[in-house]
């Protein structure tokens, strides 16, 4: 499966996700600078990496979400192509409006950087098919603004439609209903604060993240 990783000024997990994708797919991802306007043909996934695009100026992800490449990402997402936003990538997806809600400063104001326990809430999406429903997994988080906020109608809708992909199994950042990752209505866009790409091989201290990419590969096809 061919993949594309979008690189913004201030992205710093672009290499991590590229290594993870290459490990699992066997194909080196195409790195796409945010100033581009077209995506490569034949890709099975667009990944928006973690980092601090534009130094988190204005709001996390706000300026990156107005980059030239965004129109192509929105068109691809509308066409059903899987899009994965991790950490800053999740913030960018909410700022674009591909996902509802917003990510605010963590409650307690601390930068949280550690492994956290998560529950897989929806094990049927293209991203989570290799997990069991309610399975407990451990991914690292490293963020200052991961406090998920949405109005209660939106939260009810997300939960009712099975669009909460991952939930924190412990108090991490104050997120509404402990939400760690959400899907769009069609299920082809996932945004999450934890970093599955940092739990790929035994040397990472665990391989829970690997199955997210393996599941994608299986669902989307080689």
């Amino acid at each position: 499966m061919k993949t594309a990783v979008i690189v913004f000024p201030g992205s710093n997990c672009d290499r991590d996700i590229a290594v993870a994708l290459e490990h699992v797919t066997g194909v080196k991802p195409t790195m796409i600078w945010h100033g581009e306007t077209v995506l490569p043909d034949g890709i099975g996934l667009i990944a928006l990496p973690g980092g601090f695009s534009y130094g988190d100026y204005l709001r996390c992800g706000a300026i990156a979400a107005r980059s030239p490449i965004i129109a192509a990402i929105v068109a691809a997402a509308d066409g059903g192509l899987p899009v994965l936003g991790i950490c800053n990538g999740f913030q960018v997806l909410t700022e674009i409006g591909l996902l509802p809600g917003a990510l605010m400063r963590n409650e307690g104001l601390d930068f949280v950087c550690r492994d956290v326990a998560l529950t897989v809430e929806n094990a049927q999406s293209a991203f989570t098919s290799r997990y069991a429903a309610d399975e407990r997994v451990s991914f690292p988080v490293a963020h200052h603004d991961g406090n998920y906020v949405a109005d209660s109608d939106t939260l009810d809708r997300l939960e009712g439609d099975g669009r909460v992909a991952f939930r924190y199994a412990e108090r991490v950042n104050g997120s509404a209903r402990q939400i760690a990752g959400v899907l769009n209505p069609a299920g082809n866009v996932l945004g999450m604060m934890p970093h599955p790409e940092r739990k790929i091989e035994a040397a990472h201290g665990g391989t829970d993240g690997r199955r997210l990419f393996e599941g994608l590969l299986e669902t989307v096809g080689a």
Binding site: L58, A62, I63, A102, E107
Partner: protein, 96 residues
Amino acid sequence: MQRRRTIGIAATDAQQDVPAMKLSIFVTLKPGVLDPQGKAIHKALDGLGFSGVNDVRAGKLIELDVADDTSDAAIDEMCRKLLANTVIENYRIVRA
């Protein structure tokens, strides 16, 4: 209503004088959205011994210097498209 002003770039460059308008955009969190920074400031004020502080909300002020003929609709669009995230924030436009 709006006070107009001309920015003098340089006396020798007078033809480039652009009639300008100064705007203050106040971006504030919507009521009901938890404000961790406001809470921390509140706690610090309490810690300094100031009594009677009921609540603190932190927001931001963005100052714009725009061409005089910028329409209200365009200014509003700037706020909605970038300056504020209307999922969590309100904005108020004040002409200087």
